[in-house]
Subunit: 141 residues, 4 copies
């Protein structure tokens, strides 16, 4: 795997310049050559069913996408467009902050595949998934 | 395919009782036996990259998940837990309201599979995907 | 959607020149501008569990991949490399020939997304899925 | 994670009793509490494009499905029905035997999610993916 080419601080600036990421309360907790950890600050509007008070699956999916993408970004300098993704929901996420850990599965010339796992405050695995990111510049025509 | 067992009005009440769905400005635009249409009201916080001003992929993923799930809900009465999902991103979504159309792919005793397509204000296909929903009551132990 | 640029006959020649496709007994049953139908000839070696005698999920996945890809091929001239795919298994496939119907979901400059549904001899939906195909020539370096 | 409840030998008998698995030349190379390794014996009929002589994506998908499922089987005693799966293709697989390593991502009461990675003879990552397996007995009605 190639080295990171951007610092955690710079990557965090890029992360929170994104309005939806800022709304999600995202911040980079840790970055090394193999993994990235991103925290999410829970808020009332993230609730799905108002009785069960579970965190909405769309929030978990967004967190997985961003976390996987920012591990790619550490290697290529900027986040890459998401082409597609899969999310698996493992447990209900009750109100509370979340933490996601991202890793690269395969970094190619044209595509990168990266995955992420979401944990709750008790370090229980809540959801996981992987996305395909387009890392090549678009072909000139 | 079985008949819908809940009206569009009741389903819409259930939809917007969900805080994150309310934040997304979701509402049912149309419901028949085969399809559901759900509208999303764009807001500034949905932006991804602040320069490109594209709508965040996590928003599109959430819209696909909810739309597919509420077509399932029309058949079984309530939304079913999402087990997993796939999202394909086809075009950048520029600022503006979105519309998603959901359809059931396969309704079984234990699982339902449903898909949805997201269109922008020019009726261009922005994203699409499918999810697996768990429609059976959990086995008694 | 662009027009098909290759005939069904030429596409069928390309299909069965592929040894694994030939082993699967694949052949194009129908091709128009919107859909392709590919038939599979069942054989004993396709069985999964020897008691239940269901057709192996890997066979269904291969049929979905090839069918989606050959609808892409009708538009671009040759099959495109599969980047990733999702398969949903809906019903057990009992011994007997299968038929898959493929459609393009989104044809872009760099990627195409296409899906396919597999039916048994009673026209019951057995499995379905979608794949991402890389339709652009690799960028020159 | 719960302990394995079946030996590698018993699991291998179950694996190759399956005609398609036998055709693929599958065999369990290694099994511990965390991982399973399954080998595949290459054969000429596995080729996709006859000129490029790459191994067909359907073969890689089948290998991933079986490997993930047999790690589940080690925990529950028998292979579980695949509900859906995702496969990512990372590199072209040239003629030669393959090896897949499977791991459980999340083992629940009703579902298990497991993934697998496929390596070629040079230990290069060729493909990877994950599947959802239905581990609960069907609800009695």
């Amino acid at each position: 795997m190639s080295d990171n080419i951007v610092t955690s601080e710079k990557l965090n600036e890029r992360l929170i310049a994104n309005p939806f990421n800022a709304w999600l309360g995202l911040r980079i907790l840790k970055l090394d050559e193999e993994t990235i950890e991103i925290g999410l600050t829970w808020r009332e509007e993230m609730i799905s069913n108002p009785e069960a008070r579970r965190t909405h699956g769309g929030i978990l999916g967004a967190l997985i996408d961003v976390t996987a993408d920012f591990m790619i970004a550490a290697k290529v300098g900027v986040p890459a467009p998401t082409v597609d993704m899969r999310v698996d929901y493992h447990r209900a996420a009750m109100p509370g902050d979340l933490r996601a850990v991202g890793r690269i599965i395969r970094m190619g010339r044209t595509f990168g595949v990266a995955g992420a796992e979401v944990f709750d405050g008790d370090d229980k695995l809540i959801a996981s998934g992987r996305g395909l990111y387009y890392t090549a510049p678009p072909p000139k025509r």
